[in-house]
């Protein structure tokens, strides 16, 4: 076993013995996200590198500390990509392990799936310092429970993810971005109507009277869709989508609270005052402003979803928490799962829900 892993296992054992907690950290690009975990840092960046990459198998295996940018550059060389376009948030710091633990996906999510849909296997160290491997490198695998997907978005609360196997896909041959002048309600209607047609819509973003739509696929399909939809072609599209993905778009500027509402795509405008940016065909709504947590969370719940205090708002964070409260039944299962993987409560205490 690699010496870095041995050291990590040692640290987990020490933490258990001394009743300490550990705070798992990759590049720190998402330090802002979630609660503030206590305890000394277990830095994953020393454990880096691509373990295996076989373009013909559509699979890449990487160590947790591998910079996301490095992985993406390698895939790009072979005309492949992580289709869910994980956000980096900050130049060059994001790691593969952090990407899986945060479970965040970018503009193409509604069309191609999320991080969890591409995680095929994980190797991890649990809260007793055990080295465990789940899943594998094949597309279909139902032996045992789907622990690899469970790790996506678990925010390091269940274990130290040391290695992940990811499904990758070819970069679509053609891409085009179109813009339409539309109000919020009208844009939502259009997006949902288009969603029911076999159009190669890969991403969408509505903000301030403009709906931007990205087409990706075979050239013939993209041409046909453009002819059917109309709209104005956008020139600097790559920069635009990256700005949405990494929240460098002007909408995200400033320090006020930023809410992330994940709702049913057909939900009409939420009617909560404040600037909004809508992605994922209507299923993701970013909201800026000082609205009360109660107002935002109940609006999200009525729309079949949930609201996360994504950035800022320290006072709200302290009083209402970052993540949407769980039902009692779910909360109990969460607590039990935490105990199943991390019985001594070593990892990332307080990062997701206050008690674990």
């Amino acid at each position: 076993m690699d010496t870095v892993l041995k050291e990590w296992i040692g640290r987990v054992h020490d933490a258990v013995e001394t009743q300490q907690t550990l705070c798992i950290r990759g590049g720190g690009s998402k330090d802002f996200y979630g609660g503030n975990p206590a305890g000394p840092v277990l830095d994953t960046t020393a454990y880096r590198g691509i373990v295996a990459y076989e373009p013909t198998e559509l699979v890449v295996v990487a160590r947790a500390g591998t910079p996301l940018a490095e992985l993406e550059a390698l895939l790009a060389e072979k005309g492949q990509c992580l289709p869910f376009e994980p956000p980096h948030f900050g130049a060059g710091r994001a790691t593969v392990g952090g990407m899986v633990a945060a479970g965040l996906s970018g503009p193409r999510r509604a069309a191609v799936g999320a991080v969890r849909d591409y995680v095929l296997g994980v190797k991890l160290i649990d809260g007793k310092g055990e080295w465990l491997s789940f899943g594998g490198q094949v597309m279909k695998n139902v032996a045992g429970y789907d622990v690899p997907r469970l790790m996506a978005g678990s925010l390091g609360t269940l274990g130290v993810v040391a290695e992940v196997a990811l499904k990758v896909l070819p970069v679509p041959v053609a891409e085009r971005t179109l813009r339409f002048a539309l109000g919020e309600a009208e844009a939502l209607k259009k997006l949902n109507a288009w969603g029911g047609q076999p159009l190669p819509i890969a991403a969408s973003a509505w903000h301030d009277g403009a709906l931007t739509v990205r087409l990706m696929g075979a050239r013939a399909a993209v041409d046909a869709a453009q002819a059917a939809l109309g709209g104005e072609p956008v020139a600097d599209a790559a920069a635009f989508w990256q700005g949405v993905r990494d929240q460098t778009h002007a909408f995200f500027a400033g320090d006020g609270p930023l809410w992330r509402l994940s709702v049913a795509s057909v939900t009409p405008p939420l009617g909560i005052p404040g600037p909004t940016l809508i992605e994922w065909g209507g299923a993701l709504r970013w909201l800026r402003g000082d609205q009360g947590a109660e107002q935002v969370r109940s609006a999200a719940a009525r729309a079949g979803g949930h609201a996360t205090l994504f950035r800022g708002g320290d006072a709200i964070k302290a009083s209402a928490g970052v993540f949407h409260p769980l039902s009692p039944a779910l909360l109990r299962i969460h607590a039990n799962l935490k105990r199943a993987f991390d019985p001594h409560g070593v990892f990332n205490r307080g990062r997701m829900y206050p008690d674990f």
Partner: protein
């Protein structure tokens, strides 16, 4: 065959009967042996067991009441859909109650605007697509059993289909699951949104084989029907060339709508049954589908033909009409029952391996067929590397079951050695419970048990299935070490 379930319970049949009689109408509770016979197995007919009782609730309140009673009296519960499962997942527990969801048959809502369907778990897979068809939508995962299998069973097995290479497995197409914990508490996993707060429990419920919760409602994603789909039949004079062609297609950057393979034994079984029009002289056939706009399909079919020709296809046939396309697929989808017609019994394997090892695996299966003196037809979800070797045997011939089982175990162990898994979509159930030890270490198996306990502390939901007890693992490892199988001793790593 009886399955030696090593997780047993001491249950007083009369008390549980009385408790269930109090909460279910008379026609929703079976206790006479002749009434329960039809429930003694699922699609894996080699293993059978009679339950204590069969409950057929029709409402969530009844499901809840049954679960509460069983939980209180510590009675095992085995959820059951259409029982088309091929790993014994729905086979009864001798000390327990079968909880059939067969009466949960309603499609509650088809919402064309949000492209979702809200259905009860006993709704058949194909019925969802049929109900969505008027809106130009369908439910993408299409297991070959789709006329019979239920959505609840699909979720519990994370079932795949012939189109999941491009459109994903069940787990990729389910938004929300409503169900009950073993204690009878209502619970929702997932959301009407694309994600839910907290841990991704929806991912765990998919493929949980009825061990974590009882599913009573499912919201699935519907997909717009492509304008056009066409399938290329590519024939090969050598199975290994066909296996390599699969990797070549993917390497060319093509993700076909479906990429399936059958060998000669399979096409010969299928043709008299379905009359799909396959060329019976070929050693193997690939079905490679393209879908999209007409222009897109035309372009892609040309690329596919070029790759397949280069890989050594002896002839290529492209479907010329929707009827012909469906006929070509009908042959593939009927492969299991077709083989069932030419042999008294068969075992269906389900290993998955990296695509590039297909040719190697095919050669090994050929050798094993000779070694065990049993015929084997091969049907593959080739694009996903998911293999369904169908091992033919006759349970009435002494020793044949054992030979078939050993043949199957060798294929599964080899799947693991080649970097794959023992099951791609049919689940572990009782069938592959021992071979789990070839894929997971005792520490990993223990982690699975702890995960199960997080949902079901007393271990009452489908006990003895899916995850082997550590005692079973030890026994397996010892036996296989004695018979000289390497896979049993070296757990695989990816």
């Amino acid at each position: 065959m009886a399955f030696a379930n090593d997780v047993r319970f001491t249950v007083d049949q009369r008390s549980i009967l009385a408790r269930l009689q109090a909460v279910l109408p008379p026609d929703a509770l079976l206790s006479a042996e002749e009434d329960m016979r039809p429930y003694e197995c699922d699609g894996l007919t080699a293993y059978r067991a009679l339950p204590l009782l069969v409950a057929l609730p029709q409402t969530e309140a009844q499901v809840q009441a049954v679960l509460r009673a069983c939980h209180e009296l510590k009675v095992p519960v085995v959820p059951r859909g259409a029982a088309t499962g091929l790993s014994g997942g729905a086979m009864p527990h001798e000390d327990g109650v079968v909880l059939s969801l067969a009466r949960f048959k309603k499609i509650l809502k088809i919402d064309p605007l949000s492209r979702t369907a809200l259905v009860q778990p006993g709704v058949r897979n194909l019925a969802v697509s049929e109900a969505a068809a008027p809106y130009g939508l369908y439910y993408a995962p299409d297991p070959s059993s789709q006329i019979a299998c239920t959505i609840g069973g699909n979720v519990a097995e994370n079932s795949g289909g012939v189109h999941c290479l491009k459109y994903g497995l069940t787990v990729h197409n389910v938004l929300k699951v409503r169900g009950f914990t073993v204690e009878g508490e209502a619970v929702e996993f997932g959301a009407d949104a694309l994600d839910a707060p907290g841990l991704d429990l929806l991912a765990l419920i998919n493929g949980s084989e009825g061990l974590l919760a009882v599913i009573t409602e499912v919201t699935v994603k519907l997909t717009p029907k492509p304008e056009l789909a066409q399938v290329v039949l590519a024939y090969f004079d050598d199975v290994q060339k066909a296996g390599n062609a699969v990797a070549d297609v993917i390497a060319a950057g093509i993700i076909p709508g479906g990429l399936e393979m059958m060998d000669k034994a399979a096409t010969h079984a299928v043709e008299p049954y379905v009359k799909a029009g396959y060329d019976l002289d070929a050693e193997a056939v690939l079905l490679c589908e393209s879908d999209g706009t007409p222009a897109e399909v035309a372009e892609e079919i040309e690329r596919m033909k070029m790759v397949l020709e280069k890989s050594g296809a002896t002839s290529l046939v492209v479907s010329q009409s929707e009827a012909e396309r469906l006929r070509f697929w009908a042959g593939r989808k009927a492969a299991f029952p077709a083989v069932g017609r030419i042999t008294p019994d068969y075992l269906c394997m389900d290993g998955t391996i990296p695509r590039k090892r297909l040719a190697e695996m095919l050669e090994a299966i050929g050798d094993l067929s000779v070694k065990y003196g049993l015929r084997c037809a091969n049907v593959f979800h080739a694009g996903d590397g998911n293999l369904h070797p169908l091992i033919m045997y006759d349970a009435n011939q002494p020793g044949e079951v054992e030979r078939a089982t050993a043949f199957g175990a060798e294929i599964l162990e080899l799947s693991v050695q080649l970097g794959g898994t023992i099951t791609g979509e049919h689940g572990v159930g009782v069938e592959k419970i021992d071979v789990m030890a070839a894929q997971f270490t005792p520490a990993e198996i223990s982690a699975f048990h702890r995960l199960k306990a997080a949902f079901d502390e007393k271990g009452l939901l489908n006990p003895g299935k899916g995850i082997p007890t550590l005692a079973r693992c030890r026994e397996y490892t010892l036996t296989r070490a004695q018979t000289g199988s390497a896979a049993a001793i070296t757990p695989p790593r990816f």
